[in-house]
Structures are given as C-alpha cells and as structure tokens.
Amino acid sequence: MTFLIIILVFNQHPKETNPVKIVFGAGICVYQKIISPVQGDVCNFYPSCSHFAGEAIEKYGIFWGTLMASDRLMRCNHSAVNYYDTFYSGIKNGKVNDPPENNFILSPIRKPFDIIIEKIE
C-alpha cells in the first residue's frame, strides 16, 4: 500500500516542484485511485469534486484552490440539482456543470457563453 502511494505521489506530478502542491495533489490522487472507486460515482457535479479540487489548485494555487475545493465539497449535496439552470451552468454528462472558472471570485467570466445563447434561443 505504501509503495502504491509513493508511486502515485511521484508519478502524478513529475514536473511539480512546490512541495505543498505535491502533497495536495498526492492526496487527491490517492483518493481518486483508491477511495473513489470503492465509493462509486456519487458526486452531483461535473467535474467531480476531486477533479474540481485538482483543477482549482492547478489553476489558482494552493490558497484559492483549497478554499474553492472546500466550498465545493459543502455545495455537493442533493439541493445542487435544483439550481442547475440558475446558479450553475446547466447539465453536462448527466451532472450539474460547475467548472472551477465559474467559482473564482476574482474572475469576471462566470459562465460559458454557449449556455447563454441556448437560453436566449
């Protein structure tokens, strides 16, 4: 098991040098490879919470990424589907579409334009 975790840590982020990012990335990776398959596909969102966390940390850094991920984990509940066409960007792959770009509070772009056009049409 330890060997598997070590392989995951060093395989997933070969170019990453920030130790904190490596630790967070490894944690997410261990979850995705070992825990998530046991749990099954239970996330309400697309991308799933772990992918969201990974992307958010990758794009916006540890500080914002962690905040966005913890916020997302608290939003991942059964009420999410009720807001799919209001606060979220519609449905993608059968799940509520909520990419990290829509949740970064300093970014002006909140939703992909296609959704808006579809709504207008």
Binding site: T66, M74, R75, S79, A80, R110, I116, K119
Partner: protein
Amino acid sequence: MMIYFLFLQSELFNPDQVLKFADYLYLQADFNSALNEYRRYLFLCDSNKQEVNEKIIDCLVRLKRYDEAIKSADYLSDTTAAVYTKSLIYLLKGDYPIVRELLKNMIDETKSKRLIGLSYAGEFNFLKAKEFIDIPHPLPKHKSPVIGGLFSLFPGGGHFYCQRVGDGIYSMLVITTGSLVSYYCYHQNEKTKFYISLGISIIFYAGNIYGGINAVHNYNYYENEKYREIIFNRGQ
C-alpha cells in the same frame, strides 16, 4: 456508362431543384444539410445571390459556426447589410466590443443603436445600454458580497442570504460537526486528533466564507443574466 447515368439524372444538378431541396431541409431544421445544398446551388448557378448567402449565414449561425458566418458575410453584395450582419454575429458570439467598433460610423441609425445597446446589455452595462435602447424597469437588484461574507461568519449564513437553503444547511452541519469533533478530542486529551479535526474545521469554515461571497457573485450574475435575457428577447 457513368456519364450516361449522370445525364439521365440531370435533375440532380438542376439549380432550381437544388434550391427547393435546400429550402425544404431548412424548413425541416436540418441546417447542416441545408447549408451544403445552398453552397451547391451557388456553385451550380455560378452566381452570388444575396438571399442564398443570407440563408447560408443563417444556417451557420444556427449551427454556432460563427467564424465561418463572419467570413460568409463578406460575400453579401450590400455593404451596409454586411456590416449589420457581421455585428449581429459578433453579438451572438459574445464579442461585444467588436460590435461597437464595427458600428461606430453608423451610430445615428436606429438599427445600429439597437445593436450597440444590446452589446452593452451583453456586458451587463445596463446603464450605458439605456442610452441606446429602451430597457425594462426596474434594473436587477444585486446583493452585496461584503454582507454575504459577513453573514457567512455564521456557518451557512451567506448561502441563506442568497436563498440557497440546502447549501446553507449543509455548510452549517459540516462545520458544526467538525467543531464538535475537535471539542470532543480536546476534552479526551487526544492532541493529534484534535489538531487534525481543528485544521479541517478551519479549512471548511474559510471555505464557507469564500462560498458565501461566491454565492453572492453567482446570485448577482444570475440576476443580470435574467435581465439580459429579457432585453435580448425584446431585441429580437
């Protein structure tokens, strides 16, 4: 033999038949095939009919192939119509500053005023849009991110403030549970568990405050979007 067959089937290459078929496909909302037939018609006719070009642009816009539609607008014989069509396509594409750039020399005309107004509305600049078009009243009501953040000091408060009750309850439960676990571990003198649970609780609490502000942003965006939808529907 092949040439003989093609000769017999010459109806296939009759431009009028091709145009009829294209119109039929267009009415059936099969825009991809209709586009193909309209282009075939132009090739067979060896002409550049305005109406057919307009149909081609219409098909491309409906297929959301905006860049191709913009290129096709160059083939329109009427220059003014070409500028308006391009502006409309850029508006649908979401490139609002380009719309204004294209129409800056025709700012006095009613049609360009409408498009410029819609471009401002597209950017949620409703006050500026008001100078060019009639917009419905009242303007969308926004919530304050600062108040959202302050409400979030109480777990879930920011979500409640934005009418997201489910998220609010869930945030409250997660943070309360984390805090209770930390409290329990502290009283049991289990220091490692205490620090871990405290760390997790703090991260979730910070995430809750961030979420409160984010929820306000999303709420405001949605209100703007609803309002813009009303303006765009009126504009059509």
